[in-house]
Amino acid sequence: MLDAPTAPVRGVTPRVPAEPSAIRGLLGRREVSLLIVLAGLVLLFALLSDRFATGGTAAQVLTNLSIVVIVGVGLAMVLMTRNIDVSVGSMVGLTAYFAADFSAENPGLPIPVVVLASCLLGLLLGSVNGALVATLRVPSIMVTLGTLYIYRGIDSAIAGSNQVTAQNLSQDYNDIASWDLVGVPGMFLYALLIAGAAHLFLRHTYSGRSLLASGSNPEAATKLGLASRRWVFVAFAVSGLLCGFAGMLWGARYGTVDSSVATGYEIVVLAAVVVGGVSVNGGSGSVGGVVVGAAILSVIAVGLALVNVSQFWLQAIQGLVIVVAIVSDVLIRRRLQGTGART
């Protein structure tokens, strides 16, 4: 029903191609080509360094990409509604400190309570973004630029120059991140679960497809009776919730938490999401793409370190990757739809 709009809405040009097979074809091709790129990179680094093709490295890559995927799923949903959320780094940082401190101050607290508290905080932070964007129609870049500052400021105010270290945290808390199942790190399994749930939601529920539709063509979606603004709000709220979960995991994984956690993280996550094929114009992209995109960037980061290339190259590569991904996305899209240049 939502794949092939039959009667064009007056005055609005639907940007979704009319044939559903064209969309599926594109997505199929994008993910396949991403997997090929990933395989190529793995091969490259395996050749360049003997230490790359080991179980330990694989575990490291998987753990690295897990938090990116968790945050990335939320960010992808926001992008799908044709908005952006640059405050994810600050949300992760704030919830990370909150969760770690909360647990350190109350050692007897059962871990599920800490997890819940962190997620609720994240949900609140994301909802503020969502409310400003959806209800007051403030452009999302402005809202989230502002909250990037504001949430980081709150984080600094709460944390001061404090640091919560692994010793302060209970063993249970640290254990959340350090288990594995037949060698596969627990963190990665969390990420897979979340990604899987998001995928099911977006592709196989009416609500999820409404979310995609409202980003693909907001005016048409509204005329079709889909509550576009509600999905925008939901996307931001979910983004915040997932940041809350990721923040809690951050402390468990990295041990030391202070007010500078996840500064600049939004670039890393945005790179993964954009590489993974989520369009910045809204309406398209897949969770699978986000996972593979995060994998590609994680392989690059870990591989560069093993090959002794200076870590200073990493940021440039991440930025370049964003630009290249957007350029190729737009060029492919244009060729498929045959429209002229539009800004």
Binding site: M142, Q315, Q318, L320, I322
Partner: protein, 339 residues
């Protein structure tokens, strides 16, 4: 055709004496009131605030930021945004430092930095204007790319052998006064930019492109050239700011200016420029710059940590956007009591 497209002045019924010019409306008045309020409160609560020394320190310290605000105002009025300016600021400072280290002399080094900034701006310009990519996300990418290049070039070193001419310019005042050299530079450039924006043909083009891309195109405006030019403008000024800053802190580092883009954008937005383009005035932006500068000066004197200062600026920015929306809604509701 008058330039008063952005004007909120009433039609000819008002006498000429009472009509506000197109470049100074209610918003600008509000900013003036706020500035006066902050200055008065700060002078009362902090004895050091209203001194000549504080003025020159604050003005010199804000010079780099101020220089970047000039092109950003133009760019946002034309409907685009450049999140990478702080990274261009950083990489140009690095180029400047490296040129100095290589013995290239002051003028050549400054020129090299400006060229680097212009090239970076051109990259943005081509991506946005010619390839038609959304500037918001593209400049997030180039933000990482240019900053990354700065790190590749200089790694974690810092170059402190900044030519004395540059440091004296960035840190010093006009002989015998409290007016910093860099403030004079800023005022001259800002004056030129403001006059051109509100009275010049190129300024009209910027507004036109921001108000309606299609109408501009159909009117024969070379939109791509305008946008490209604005990004090069942005890159070059970011480079200039980067050089001035390196002189001010006597050090060129790859991480100079990290995060400054948020302050620049916040200032332009608080100045009344709309994200969607086509609206806002240059005096508004300058007033906003003054407001944010006196506010942060006051907070610094009160030992407020910089992260919290950023929070206040962030709140101000959101307020600057939310308040007009709310006001408009209230006005709409009052105008249509039957709804």
């Amino acid at each position: 055709m008058s330039v008063a497209t952005a004007s909120t002045a009433a039609p000819q019924r008002q006498s000429r004496a009472r009509r506000l010019p197109s470049w100074f409306g209610t918003w600008e008045l509000t900013l003036v009131v706020l500035i006066v309020a902050v200055v008065v409160t700060a002078s009362v609560t902090s004895p050091f605030f209203a001194t000549g020394l504080n003025f020159s320190i604050t003005a010199a310290g804000a010079a780099a930021l101020a220089l970047m605000v000039i092109p950003m105002a133009w760019l946002m009025i034309s409907g685009e945004i450049d999140l990478s300016i702080a990274s261009i600021f950083g990489v140009s400072g690095v180029v400047f430092g490296l040129a100095v280290e290589a013995g290239a002399g002051t003028v050549a080094s400054v020129a090299a930095a400006l060229v680097a900034g212009g090239v970076a701006g051109l990259v943005n310009g081509v991506l946005v204007a010619d390839l038609g990519l959304p500037s918001l996300v593209v400049t997030v990418g180039t933000l990482g790319l240019f900053r990354g290049v700065a790190y590749i070039l200089l790694e974690s070193r810092s170059i402190s052998a900044i030519p004395p001419g540059v440091t004296r310019f960035a840190q010093g005042n006009l002989p015998g006064t409290i007016v910093p050299f860099s403030l004079v530079l800023f005022l001259l450039l800002a004056l030129a930019a403001g006059v051109l924006l509100h009275r010049g043909g190129i300024g009209r083009k910027a507004y036109a492109v921001g108000s309606s891309l299609d109408v501009s195109r159909f009117s024969g405006l070379r939109v791509q050239r305008v946008k490209r030019g604005l990004f090069v403008f942005s890159g070059t000024f970011a480079a200039l700011a980067g050089v001035v800053y390196a002189g001010y802190v006597s050090s060129a580092r790859a991480n100079n200016g990290t995060g400054l883009e948020l302050s620049v954008i916040a200032i332009v937005l608080i100045g009344g420029v709309s994200m969607f383009g086509g609206r806002g005035t240059f005096p508004g932006v300058v007033l906003s710059l003054v407001l944010v500068t006196v506010l942060t000066s006051w907070m610094s004197l009160a030992y407020v940590p910089s992260n919290v200062q950023n929070t206040v600026v962030g709140l101000l920015m959101i307020g600057a956007v939310v308040v007009p929306v709310v006001v408009r809604r209230v006005q709409d509701r009052r105008a249509r009591p039957t709804q």
